[in-house]
């Protein structure tokens, strides 16, 4: 198991939202020392969230996660040591786990790994203030919604047998090259592989379309991720509203069952809506 940053079982980052009634709860500004540390930013949340005490962030000696508030929005941050290493597997996982745990409770705009500013003040002036209304609107639109990723991967043997049985040229080239020395067959092998590759691409496109059609009625939006492996059938990110949850789960299970002889289907989530935020906020100034 890849390191879980010392918090196995920790699943809650924030505890829901505070109404006016609970607003007496102290909002920490974060114990960040401008002289030695920098401010690592995980994501943007509504200002009225509360962080579970003791939740820590990335880094070799992770600091407490805190909020930097500006108006209606806030950044989830923790102090990091700029001299220390960052980007270790444990850091990457901590970043994602923190955001996913947050997304299970409140709307969150996830930042890509590696966003660092010098101080809580610069988080306000460089990130929150220039984008306040846009972030607030985005958070409002994500209320009650989380992301899932559905990932289908072909079983290699089944995939290749499908291709072989559907394409006589593949069968011919296979007979021609099989068991012969590599030096003699290289160009035929490349040709064979190219035909198989394009046949796989066609299958991928058709299966992606079918999966999207099956899932579309049960989610708010869909984004396709490109294939990351030659056996990938589809990688579909979807934004799912709470009221769609049961139907969504059923739809994914039905895809997995329908194709169980051809591929494995995985469902990741709920996740922070990584695929549904636009990459660049407005720069400061």
């Amino acid at each position: 198991m890849i390191g879980m940053t010392g918090r196995p079982g920790e699943t809650v980052t924030v505890t829901g939202r505070s109404d006016m009634a609970t607003s007496t709860h102290t909002r920490t500004r974060g114990p960040i020392d401008d002289r030695t540390g920098a401010c690592y930013i995980y994501g943007i949340v509504p200002a009225d969230v509360e962080i579970v005490p003791g939740v820590t962030g990335i880094g070799e000696s992770p600091a407490q996660v805190s909020l930097v508030i500006d108006g209606d929005i806030a950044a989830l941050v923790s102090e990091i040591d700029v001299a220390g290493p960052i980007g270790r597997p444990a850091d990457l996982i901590a970043h994602e786990e923190l955001l996913n745990a947050t997304a299970r409770e409140v709307p969150v705009l996830p930042l890509r790994f590696g966003a660092v500013l010098s101080s809580p003040e610069s988080v306000v002036t460089d990130l929150l203030a220039p984008n306040h209304d846009e972030f607030a609107a985005a958070l409002a639109s994500l209320e009650g919604r989380t992301q899932y990723v559905v990932h289908g991967r072909y079983l290699e043997d089944v995939l290749l047998r499908e291709v072989l049985s559907e394409n006589s040229e593949v069968a011919r080239l296979r007979e021609e090259t099989r068991g012969r020395p590599e030096a003699e067959t290289r160009s035929a092998m490349i040709q064979l592989g190219e035909i198989v590759g394009s046949a796989v691409e066609e299958k991928r496109a058709a299966d992606t379309d079918a999966a999207v059609d099956a899932l579309t009625p049960h989610c708010v939006a869909i984004m396709l991720r490109p294939a990351a492996h030659e056996h990938d059938a589809f990688r579909i990110a979807a934004l799912v509203d709470t009221h769609q949850q049961a139907d969504w789960d059923r739809a994914v299970e039905s895809i997995a069952e329908g194709w169980q002889d051809r591929m494995t289907v995985r469902l990741l989530g709920p996740l922070a809506p990584y695929d549904f935020v636009s990459p660049e906020p407005t720069p400061a100034g």
């Binding site: 966003a115 990723v149 079983l155 069968a171 592989g193 990351a228 994914v252 069952e257 995985r266 469902l267």
Partner: protein, 138 residues
């Protein structure tokens, strides 16, 4: 016969309780809001370790891998009655099957590959497969 690995609780659907590193890399290095690069670089000189876990699909290397995989199919039996939905077109022309056990082994291997993908990351997955198949190292 079910070949899907089902670590999750819902039958054939694999529903891991937390993302593996491969999934994490794919997501947080590639998606999400980005602070203006000027601001970030100007403020702290942290060098990020970025790993491109993606493969280039349209490459000679990939083609050769496909071709080798197709040619390797002869190692598994062509008679696949035990495997639903397989080898429809193959069953007539080519069915001097070998042992059934080999087919089961091949499918288990596919399942293993799948599970490995959830583990360290993609490249590890691929090199592990090559080793298993006795293929050449890169």
């Amino acid at each position: 016969m079910t070949t899907a690995s089902s670590a999750g609780s819902t039958g054939v659907l694999d529903r891991p309780s937390s993302s593996g590193l491969a999934d994490v890399l794919d997501t947080i290095l590639d998606k999400g809001l980005v602070i203006d690069a000027f601001v970030r670089v100007a403020v702290v000189g942290i060098e990020l370790v970025t790993i491109d876990a993606r493969i280039v699909v349209a490459s000679v290397d990939t083609y050769l891998k496909f071709a080798e995989a197709v040619n390797r199919l002869e190692l598994a039996p062509r008679e696949e009655q035990g495997l639903p939905g397989l080898a429809k077109g193959l069953s007539e022309g080519a069915s001097k099957g070998k042992v059934k056990g080999a087919a089961a082994g091949a499918l288990e291997a596919a399942g293993d590959k799948w599970r490995e993908f959830t583990d360290p990351h993609d490249r590890h997955d691929r090199s592990a497969r090559r080793n298993r198949d006795g293929d050449r190292e890169e």
